[in-house]
Amino acid sequence: MATPLAPGGSVSHRAVHAWLLLLPAMVLLAAFTHWPIVSTLFDSFHSTPRGGKPAVWVGLENYQVMAADPVFWQAVRNNLWFAGATIPLSVGLALVMALWVNERIAGRAFLRMAYFTPTVLPMIAVANIWLFFYTPQYGLLEQITGALGLPSHNWLGSPSTALGAVTVVAIWKEAGFFMIFYLAALQGFSPSLREAAAIEGASRWYFFRRVQWPLLMPTTLFVLVNAFINAFRTVDHLFILTRGGPNNASTLLLYHLYEVGFSFWDTAYASAITVVLVVVLVCVALTQFFLLDRRVHYK
């Protein structure tokens, strides 16, 4: 059916018009988003074509390889740990930062700038800076711990601290980004809320807990979803800092996917790992769509 504003032209005429407008964008989306998703699934049930041998149907073999691959499970564990640490810490820090910068605090413009700056830097550059920070012997961290009389420690080189070290970098990069969403929400609150709380003599903590925090709930959920997605696609810094090591102690799913696909060129197995990542992301999207969007809006 045609819209009221349609200036002449039949219904089908207008539909053709719309399709022509959409065509270039949809063709590219289909070619580089939809088709890859479908063919990834297809390829994950086939063998990797090598030499002259074409891919053949192998059923669940790639998934069996995955289930038996200790590095894959290590990557899953690491990724869950990474997500479990980056999500609450970066979101929590973002909230605290926003609450501070929202008030009339001394040097507010500088604080806001300092918190947000890591967001605009390339992750590769960030990793280079932090690599020097973590370097044994002459890195800045060593100098500080050395001055305090603590023993020397290779933060990126030991399996027990490598994952923690790369997690800190991700939190540092992300917190300021999430801060701006909280800040926007806080600045949108009516000043009368605060006045009412003042008249009632509410303490600051009480005001936060009973007024600000509940009203920030939609923002919190939005930020959480983003933090979750980022936890599964932030891997650039691994290329500089640890290359997933030592002994896979800091590898993440997407990094493992890269290694399998582009270092070992086992593209069929890499497709199976891609399917896992896609399933994770689809689950996040569905949760957001069916659960959160309905519950969190007060209006």
Binding site: M26, A114, F116, P122, F132, I180, T274, V282
Partner: protein, 283 residues
């Protein structure tokens, strides 16, 4: 009630919930901690190597690290590649998204909702995830190691389509009708009515897209294999991971150099940046 007591009450009201000195102290400590790595990078980049870890007020400043980095790797080429790449991606994204958003906002046709749903799929499954298949496509198209290959998967941006559709839907239909009465075609109306009114959204998306693609790494790393098409991020990674005894000061200089354009732009247009990221994020 006399005026002075009203003022005191006003002051009290403002003072309510003011951060305490403790808050200010903690906020400043966190901020200093937050920019410490950056300050450290700048220190190292602008001082001779022997001062890389020694902090002395009288340390001489130098640009030598930048000169050596510039000579050690084809950074001029990398800068050119990244600039071309970012400009190409943004230009195509804006044109395609404008056309698509207009169709979604102002035309009614069968399958519109389904198509729009298909667009939104890209918001959760970004091209960064399906790299294996996209690499195969680039091999088939014979595009490996070209700027076009880096840009192609991003040309059609769900985010841009989404943002522009929202904006276009908010533009009064009367303006559209008025333009049509004057005899303007659909494309003329789009160009003369919709695009000018959506300018803030274009700016917001442009800043987000430029920052994203200036910083993007994984896909360019996969699809390039020579300095010919390599963008800055990949060039920097290659430069820093070569074990040829490049010293830290030079690597840090290269790092600062790579981030400088965005960093300077951010410091100059802070408000614009923050608002753009917010607008694009909140959707």
């Amino acid at each position: 009630m006399n005026p002075s007591s009203a003022t005191t009450r006003g002051v009290q009201r403002l003072a309510y919930n003011e951060p305490t000195r403790l808050d200010a102290l903690a906020a400043w400590l966190l901020a200093l901690l937050w920019i410490l790595p950056l300050v450290y990078a700048f220190w190292t980049a602008f001082h001779p190597a022997e001062y890389a870890t020694r902090f002395a007020l009288n340390a001489p400043l130098t640009l030598d690290n930048f000169r050596r980095a510039w000579e050690a790797a084809p950074f001029a080429r990398y800068f050119l590649n990244t600039t071309l790449l970012v400009a190409m991606i943004l230009a195509v994204q804006l044109v395609l998204a404008t056309l698509a958003a207009y169709a979604f906002a102002r035309y009614r046709f069968r399958g519109r909702n389904l198509l729009f749903g298909l667009v939104l799929v890209q918001l959760m499954i970004m091209p960064d995830i399906v790299v294996v298949e996209n690499y195969k496509s680039m091999v088939r198209l014979g595009l490996v190691d070209t700027l076009l290959a880096i840009g192609l998967p991003y040309f059609s941006s769900a985010l841009a389509i989404f943002l522009l559709r929202q904006t276009f839907m908010g533009i009064p239909k009367e303006l559209d009708e008025a333009a049509r009465v004057e005899g303007a075609s659909a494309l003329q109306t789009l160009w003369r009515v919709y695009v000018p009114l959506a300018r803030p959204v274009y700016t917001a998306f442009a800043l987000v897209s430029v920052s994203y693609h200036w910083n993007n790494f994984l896909w360019p790393l996969i699809v390039t294999n020579s300095p010919h098409a390599r963008p800055l991020t990949v060039g920097l990674q290659v430069f820093s991971s070569v074990d040829q005894g490049v010293d830290w000061s030079v690597i840090t200089a290269a790092t600062v150099m790579t981030s400088a354009p965005l960093l300077v732009a951010f410091l100059l247009f802070q408000r614009q940046f923050v608002q753009s990221f917010m607008r694009a994020g909140i959707k």
